[in-house]
Point group: C2
Amino acid sequence: MRLAIEQARIAEENGDVPIGAVIVGENRIIGKAYNQREQLQDPTAHAEIIALTQAAAALENWHLNGCTIYVTLEPCPMCAGALVLARIDRLVYGCDDPKAGACKSLYNIVQDERLNHRLEVTSGVLVEQCSKLLRDFFSQRRVKNAQ
Amino acid sequence: MRLAIEQARIAEENGDVPIGAVIVGENRIIGKAYNQREQLQDPTAHAEIIALTQAAAALENWHLNGCTIYVTLEPCPMCAGALVLARIDRLVYGCDDPKAGACKSLYNIVQDERLNHRLEVTSGVLVEQCSKLLRDFFSQRRVKNAQ
């Protein structure tokens, strides 16, 4: 999760909402990414989506069974859906997202028995550091917008 | 939708489940893609995700307000979430997906009032052609697997 937080800081430096993700598989890091929505002007460029693409490329296989993803924020519907599609085993995340979270807050897509895969979920890891990053980012943005 | 069906046929030629998507904005086609999950070995490479990335690149802007996406199959949670994130105006799709559809069947992510954007949805367009493509693909695959 510390590495995911480092990734989130890179997003922040680029003017993007600070969210980072790391994927571990076969005892090594196979995906490491940060939110690049503004930088790439791509609505799908969330940290998790980029990390999943990297991880599948590293394994040369879209089935990510046996892998764990670490994310600083509770994934949104797009990213939660992607985690299920990738058949990833485990999701570890930092803080909840009451506005758009899809792994507990608004939906629980990653543990929906109607879908063909479910993940083990651990939340609240390094929660204070993960949420402070976001709080600081949005409060600085509010100050900038008010100027 | 006819163009989306043409895209779906390309997916099929590549051994991928035949699903195609087209995005129209500013009175022109700004995204056109087919499912490439197997071809790219990328779990996120659904037709909609690729088309959204193309469309945002064409407009040099991730806000796709004013655009319409045509898809042959009801989008899954990942793709439905991506449509909301992209702030696209309208979704037109062919056949429902009772197993993983997230715009009517299992969820209705694209019209969830808790999220910060909602889409207008039209379903059942060229439904017979869209569903026949999928039926034929899966029945051929069953025959191959049985051999």
